[in-house]
Point group: D2
Chain length 184, copies 4
């Protein structure tokens, strides 16, 4: 909870507004992440669909090719996950916008991105290589192993974005419920 | 291959035409199946997306609620898989059309469906209960265990439907390639 | 954050201990949930794998049949999702233990379960039917639509369980990193 | 069907035996593929699980890190899909064996692999670049667009491998049914 409090305090309003504008301007939103960050990206995509926007998850069955009017929302704590960086590079070359959610704006993902929202992960002052070193050395506080803090912050942040979009698009919960899957 | 030959011979042209018309008339196509039949349903959904039609896979992240103008393509050899029958019942109540691909037109799925395409599975003359009994007794020819023959027939049949849709919609391979995922 | 604070205060220690014991005694853990709760269940399953326990996600490709020594961890805010209740019933009949994470201990899922951990969702005092009614009426606070509060609480709670298991099994982050997927 | 007939005729017995030995010697099997080839890889993985071998699908929730005693079964018609080649490279560096199913033994995937099974795709005589060119030019026979012929051949071939493994491991259909998911 202390980490979430920190996330709230340190969140850059300008970044958040750019992120939301990027979503609203896009023709379609594509969500991307590996591992648990990928599950957080999907939880976000599900709500984006409930809002009635066009959205896809990279790697799922019916995901079409990214086009220049699309935005790729890429979630990666380190910003260095090969799968995510590789996909973001291809999306960039295809002309799509990249909106990154990461702890490291100077990571490969961060540098590729048009918009970056920085969320504190383990320790906001450490560099990527320190982070990776510490991870390899197993020195992280055991109470929240690996990317846990980032993943929870990302889920809470992205749910906040949904709340903002509901307000901006004048949608209420009933509107969302209409699109909520009835067959699962 | 003998089984595929049999599938080709026994396929009912009227059923196939109704199936294709059902797809063309629908606002959106939803694909459904459990286990390996579910993978076949997804392989079909991917090509439907390549064709530019609106399609979703039941159970994936961004699948919205089924509406009356939609069609649910349900793939199940026995037509008795609980997951599939349950989902088809809900879809039916929601007013959607059901197009079933099964070996057993008299199964629960078959009876729910608006359109049924019958594909031979193990033995076209056996009843569902004989089929289930034989399965439990492990008496099936070991060369194609469980639903293997049905699953392969279903994949080949549904790829034939794609070919027919390409022709009817005047799409060529290049059109499909444009939508083929560029980021995976 | 107020909701997470409430979750922390109201969490029943006895329930949490039973939940953890249930996981430790099981031969294999199966994770289950629909929609966003399903994504939370998967995020939990991934960490259980990192810990070196045997774990599967219901509905994924290589998930085997549930056996009597297994435990099914079912995540559902309302405890009434058909897919989850249906699967839990089958697991129960197969002799497996059911450990439920829900806001409603008196729901169908709650009543099926051997162990229930209650997490506050929208309003801990409302009954299931009030909850469903309010949902249908779209009267929920728009800032956290549908099951959002429950899903975040469930993710945070289950990550706490992982921390407890790391301690009990004397695993550190390096142990987890060894099993972390190297190919994604 | 003509294509399946050709597959049957041209299949290299030595390759098939090496492929099967590779599976039997591995501690764990990892299945990999992108798009429809990925669905075929999963259909194979499901049966491998039914046989009682240890198997995972790359990209699914509970897939651990690849180790030197493992084998990666990579399915790719062109053998050039970035996702598959990237993952196979990492697996190779991790010391795992690579067993490729492809139409092009000289592709990047083919060259990485310890064992290759060649299945005819569009035209066995064309080179990869001709194949890609023809794809881009949309000149393929419209009856089986893109990788359809390869995917069906791969599914039938891999189901043949399952039949061979059942025979070698002395498993019958009842053994498989015991592991078949009872909760879906």
């Amino acid at each position: 909870m202390a980490n979430l409090e920190r996330t709230k305090c340190e969140l850059d309003r300008g970044q958040v507004e750019s992120f939301i504008q990027c979503l609203l301007r896009a023709k379609r939103v594509f969500a991307l992440g590996a591992g648990r960050s990928g599950l957080v990206a999907r939880a976000f995509a599900m709500r984006i669909m409930h809002l009635g926007l066009n959205v896809y998850v990279v790697g799922e069955t019916i995901t079409p090719s990214l086009q220049p009017e699309d935005v790729l929302v890429a979630v990666s704590g380190s910003g260095e996950t090969d799968l995510v960086v590789g996909a973001a590079s291809i999306a960039k070359r295809a002309g799509a916008k990249i909106a990154a959610v990461t702890s490291f704006p100077d990571s490969r993902l961060g540098r590729l991105a048009d918009v970056v929202v920085v969320l504190p992960g383990r320790a906001k002052t450490e560099t990527i290589s320190e982070y990776v070193e510490r991870e390899l050395a197993g020195e992280h506080a055991s109470l929240a192993p690996l990317g846990t803090l980032f993943e929870i912050s990302a889920m809470v942040f992205l749910d906040g974005v949904i709340a903002a979009l509901m307000h901006l698009l004048k949608k209420n919960e009933q509107d969302l419920l209409k699109r909520h899957a009835n067959v699962q």
